[in-house]
Amino acid sequence: MYQVNYHRASSVAEAAKLAKSGDAQFLSGGMTLIPAMKARLAAPSDLVDLAHIAELKGIKVSGKTVTIGAATTHFEVANDEKLKKVAPAVAHLAGLIGDPAVRHRGTIGGSISNNDPAADYPAALLALGATIATNKREIAADKFFKGLFETALKDGEIVTSITFTAPAKAAYEKFRNPASRYAMTGVFVAKGKDGVRVAVTGAGDDGVFRSKEIETALTKKFDASALDGLQLSPADLMSDMHASAEYRAHLIVVMAKRAVSAANA
């Protein structure tokens, strides 16, 4: 790791101020950023640690409205009793990220700001039509995820919380890469106030995306059988050493079927 200057912020306002020093980057759980810095794939001059900011932590459930603070860890999301009641699919998803030690540190805000094309949370937020609050504005999930490791966040902008309406039915199914545990294909299916929304992670050439074909089929009939015989085009899907685009196109339908069945169970 190259030399870096560490700063610990105690408020969002202080973090925004500290971020103006040099080529600074925000640090939350650090489960991606620190390995990237160790491999010298990232070399910020300064790190602004957000993990100790109290206002960024915690989960609030009021009726069907769920708000998760950006610095809430995957472990906290996976084990929150109120969240498990209204949106069990989101808690389940958080429990599938990495391993227990990673879940103790990694945060939802960090994950979505990084927008890894194989990360789990982007699929949930997109399918749930979540709203991402920052220290400057509110951004709809549809506008937030821009591509591989790209988001709508501007320099110095900090994700503060994520809000969504708990869906009537939802589930996430993930085909894990056996080594990294990242999604080789993950599908989040939600049936809520905006109808059926289906988001796919780990498969798109340009990061997380909604599958209109699956949404159309499931809108007609919210059942795995609605996807029988559906074939997706491998164009715009990722091909790498783990799986070809054709294989991923197949996996999306398989994961979507499993997710619908789980959501209906």
Binding site: M1, Y2, Q3, V4, N5, Y6, R8, L27, G30, M31, I34, P35, M37, K38, A39, L47, D49, A51, F75, G98, D99, P100, A101, V102, H104, R105, R181
Partner: protein, 169 residues
């Protein structure tokens, strides 16, 4: 440079370190606790697992500066004097180690796992919870056996302590 101050195994330790110093290097090189190992150095193998504020974390993927102000427990902090911690004793009893390199991380992960599952553990849960710890010798069978045994022993001694306290009251 950062001034860091932590409580490690009940002892306050501190010093001035480069901001890029990883917690594992701070523990090994500054505090002299070499029980915590660096295996893969890419947060996959879990040889570096320690408890920070009561939670198992990979100390190769955390800066010492991030941990400043925290309470840390390493493998050296588990035993009570000459008496092994029940998880350590179970690893010995059930031959849960061969070369021993992964063992400190395995044991720190196991104690965290047992604490988070007061209802008890089954084999499938233990195997799933060990996802972030790699062992290249044992094939895991005896590690799983040891953790299941330790979980039972600890539940029993907790039950005994509780009934003792009840009687005393």
């Amino acid at each position: 440079m950062s001034e860091v101050s932590l409580v490690v195994n009940g002892r306050r330790v501190g010093g001035t370190v480069e901001d890029r110093t990883l917690l594992v290097h701070f523990l090994r090189e500054h505090v002299g606790l070499t029980g915590t190992h660096v295996g893969c150095d890419t947060s996959q193998c879990g040889a570096c697992v320690v408890h920070v504020d009561g939670k198992a974390v990979k100390s190769c993927t955390m800066l010492a500066a991030q941990a400043s102000g925290s309470t840390v427990v390493t493998i050296e902090g588990l035993a009570d004097g000459a008496e092994l911690h029940p998880v350590q004793a179970a690893f010995k009893e059930h031959h849960g180690l061969q070369c021993g390199f992964c063992t400190p991380g395995m044991i720190m992960t196991a104690t965290d796992m047992i604490r988070r599952h007061p209802e008890g553990l089954d084999e499938a849960t233990v195997r799933e919870e060990l996802e972030g710890n790699i062992c290249r010798c044992t094939g895991y069978h005896n590690i799983v056996k040891a953790i299941l045994a330790a979980s039972k022993t600890m539940a029993r001694s907790k039950g005994k302590a509780a009934s003792k306290a009840k009687k005393a009251a």
